[in-house]
């Protein structure tokens, strides 16, 4: 028999067992190639041009993707190599030299790999169109996606996978060289722990693991805690400490705590185990040494993926409410410029509500409103700043039920990041300067409502004062004020938005407002602001979702592969159990429990990691936490479940066949 014949025969024989490795390869190629093709797709390139940082983001993402794929392919090949150790041993036993065995395996792998790369590229090519359509949909761009083969993308992917192939071959060469015949036969059994009694050391380590995770969580809630202003000096260090303690804690949890907990449960039964204990608890304890590393990795990756996806989604989800910050009304006219826009709306028959504000300003030192222990914060600008002032009756247009007494004032539009980092106190007396006059005011409330365009308020909080005081201030400051009035227009029917946008575009000259007679600004409508946000965040959400998908499928597959190997390892146990009188359904009950642990625990801990990570700083990204977080988690869990179900199906087959 020639070498090639032998290769084909062994491949055909192995197809059934290794088709998963094959699928893993195809999947990796598909992911890589469709992403790079997308990157070079002319429609996408054009869409990306509009956002400066997008191209860089895409490139960075593609490197992360390469990294994930590399890691995944190497891991999978190593796992499947281990399962073939017996076969390699057998080849050597019948008298083949190590060189010949290597050539055999190498040839087999080259064929398998090339086939996978070809199939993957074809699928990737077509799926890239789908991804491009998703991207443009997210960006709210109406454009027909052309399908174009990119030579650059091809070369890039081909290069990556050639390098990977070479690494895999070297890995195999090293493995075949290094191992003796005897150890080849037992390679699959390596790293199995012999369970002995549990020592104090393990107990202490187990407790330390749990303590480290709790410490990490606690620290994460303190990360941006305003009471401890000193942390801002070494935010990065603080984050590293949290990350380190959580990951180490996770590892120790899997390595020691799990065994500890299960050992307590098991000891309490004093030998009278239930079938689920036999099939779930004891094998998990038994394998924890070799599994703890991969479970830690999977937990961390899950936490990372869900965390990043949630934050990106929070930002995307909040693009509307962030736009409200820039433009609290659908349309804003400043200094009565472009009043004709109202007529135009009227003529088109578009219903709207109009609010008018008179604006003045005073000098206010925010430091006066900040609590004692935050006075040293490096974020605090110490000094008086121009603060926009509106009258109470104007404020009543958005908040009708609000009253101020003589000498009282309230601050509004204090929201978002600033209000989280530097919360202002209410019921405080401050002095504001209007021209040369000092006015004592009692601040009764701090509110979040946006009132003025960010240009009118300078993106700062706004002071609301009683009407007569406002008149005074207005008189004193007439000369210094750039923007003295605002008309805010809200459409009654949002369906008119499209028509109104067209009208608003015609007033581009009137939207230009001069400041200090030196430079000018152009005000945007709410919709324009929102679209701008969507354009920049859409790419972020797309890229993170893509990477998140890659993480998900990678971790899911690794778990699945591991479970397949475990199922095969444990087949002999199932044979015994079935012989002595346990039916398939009895055994499956134990398997469900085991899968609930293997898939559920990394998922739950990973999600809890990501929850604390997201919770500590989500307000940096947007205004809505619950909905985006819940949606992300649900989607992730649903897709993750697919792997658990696949794994259970595999177990079912093994159990059924084991009698």
């Amino acid at each position: 028999m020639t070498l090639s014949k032998l290769v084909f025969r062994s491949m055909r024989k192995n197809v059934k067992q290794y088709y998963l490795y094959f699928f893993a390869l195809i999947f990796s190629v598909t992911l890589c190639f469709s992403f790079t093709t997308l990157q070079y797709n002319p429609s996408v390139v054009e869409a990306l041009k509009k956002s400066g940082t997008a191209t860089a983001g895409f490139e960075a993402a593609s490197y992360i993707l390469y990294f994930i794929v590399t890691f995944f392919v190497l891991y999978a090949s190593q796992l499947f190599m281990k399962r073939r150790s017996k076969e390699i041993g057998l080849f050597q036993l019948i008298g083949m030299t190590k060189g010949l065995v290597f050539r055999l395996i190498a040839l087999e792998n080259i064929i398998l790999f090339s086939l996978a790369v070809m199939i993957g590229m074809v699928i990737g090519y077509f799926s890239s169109r789908f991804f491009a359509m998703v991207l443009l949909k997210i960006l709210e761009i109406d454009m027909i996606v052309q399908l174009k083969f990119s030579l650059d993308a091809f070369q890039q992917s081909a290069l990556l996978f050639s390098v990977l192939l070479i690494i895999i071959l070297l890995q195999m060469l090293w493995m075949i060289r290094r191992l003796s015949l005897l150890s080849l036969f037992t390679a699959a059994k390596k790293a199995d722990e012999r369970i002995k009694g549990f020592s104090i050391f393990q107990m202490v380590m187990g407790l330390i693991g749990v303590a480290l995770i709790i410490y990490g969580y606690y620290q994460s809630t303190m990360l941006f805690n305003v009471e401890k202003a000193s942390v801002y000096n070494n935010l990065f260090l603080h984050m590293l400490v949290i990350l380190g303690s959580t990951i180490l804690g996770t590892f120790l949890f899997f390595r020691y705590s799990v065994s500890l907990i299960m050992n307590i449960v098991r000891a309490s039964k004093s030998g009278h185990l239930r079938i689920t204990d036999v099939l779930a608890v004891t094998p998990i304890m038994h394998k924890m040494k070799s599994n703890s590393k991969s479970l830690t990795l999977i937990t961390t990756l899950t936490g990372l993926a869900v965390g990043i996806m949630s934050l990106a989604y929070i930002a995307y989800y909040s693009s509307g409410s962030n736009a409200r910050f820039a433009s609290p009304y659908d349309y804003i006219l400043l200094n009565d410029q472009g009043i004709e826009f109202l007529d135009a709306l009227y003529q088109e028959g578009i219903d709207f509500k109009k609010d008018t504000y008179q604006i003045s300003n005073v000098k206010l030192n925010l430091k006066d409103l900040i609590s004692e222990n935050l006075q040293d914060s490096p974020l605090l600008f110490n000094g008086e700043v121009d603060t926009a002032v509106v009258s109470l009756s104007d404020f009543h247009q958005i908040e009708p039920n609000f009253s101020l007494k003589e000498g009282e004032a309230l601050i509004t539009s204090y929201a978002n990041v600033l209000s989280e980092v530097l919360p202002l106190q209410k019921d405080v007396d401050v002095n504001v300067k209007s021209g040369e006059t000092e006015i004592p005011l009692h601040i009764t409330d701090i509110r979040k409502d946006y009132v003025l365009s960010q240009y009118a308020s300078d993106a700062s909080p706004i002071l609301v004062v009683p009407d007569n005081l406002f008149k005074e201030i207005e008189e004193q400051n007439k000369a210094q004020v750039n923007i003295h009035s605002q008309i805010g227009i809200n459409l009654k029917d949002k369906d008119d938005m499209e028509k109104a946008e067209v009208l608003y575009k015609k007033f581009s000259e009137d939207r230009k407002v001069m400041l200090d007679n030196e430079y000018s600004i152009i005000i945007n409508s709410f919709e324009e602001e929102r679209k701008e946000n969507v354009a920049s965040l859409g790419i972020t959400i797309f890229v993170t979702a893509f990477l998140g998908l890659a993480f998900l499928i990678t971790t899911g597959s690794i778990l699945y592969f591991k479970q397949m190997a475990e199922a095969d390892d444990e087949k002999s146990s199932y044979v015994i159990l079935r012989k002595i009188g346990y039916s398939t359904s009895h055994i499956m009950k134990g398997i469900y429990a085991k899968q609930a642990f293997n898939f559920g625990v990394p998922l739950v801990i990973g999600l809890s990691h990501s929850y604390f990570a997201v919770k500590s700083g989500w307000w940096l990204f947007g205004t809505e936490l619950v909905a985006p977080l819940v949606i992300t988690i649900c989607l992730y869990v649903a897709m993750y479940m697919v792997f658990a179900i696949l794994s259970i199906q595999y177990y079912k087959r093994v159990v059924r066949e084991s009698l």
Binding site: R194, I195, S270, G271, H272, L273, R274, I275, D277, V278, T282, P283, M285, H286, S573, V575, I576, L577, R578, K579, I580, G581, Y582, S583, T584, S585, H586, L659
Partner: protein, 253 residues
Amino acid sequence: MSVLIGRKIRKVYGKKSTAQEVLKGIDIEVQKGEFVGIMGPSGSGKTTLLNVLCSIDHPTEGIVEINGQNLRGMKEKALANFRREQLGFIFQDYNLLDTLTVKENILLPLSISKQPKAVVESRLKELVGILGISDILNKYPNEISGGQKQRTSAARALIANPTLVFADEPTGALDSKSANALLTNLETINQQKNATIMMVTHDPVAASFCSRVLFLKDGAIYTELYKGDKTRQQLFQQILNTQSVLGGDGYDA
């Protein structure tokens, strides 16, 4: 009283063209309290017969009745329950779970039954006392010897108080000293507890512990020997004589 009845048991492996008849219509009956040995050359169908009798395998034709219950037509789940409640098994390669301690392994058949702990504990104590493994109960299989493993396996087979214990070459992997110890244990349990045991072996010494020995040749019962009032030595001699008549061809003992 017959514990086990087998009528005209036939077992054919393979498709029509390549069909191979392994059991050719075997009739067998086992009384309560008997210790039956099945002997025969390699390929005579010993293990197949045992598997068919103990419901792990289905006969192509014929009837198997244990304790008056016909096994034919029973569903997988019912068969499994039947095995767990009525039968005990001892295998050549011990078949212990590496992840369980000796005690956990012994109690394995009871892991879905609802017997009170105290009853189980007292039965366990009695069994491990007879088998001499009471001081290794908390050890794992990889920490004990082959003989101890097989005695653990025997304890597991007996813990649920089965109607019938099947042993497939229980001494096959043991040295002669451990083998003798195990067989003496089985004999004691057979006599003291009136347990019915059916054992496949190709070791004449092992077979000489039985109260009756069946000889299988080419899928049919060739002859049988009763111990009666004979000593073990005499039965052993008879077994050797029968074996030589059966012909040494292919005999692997």
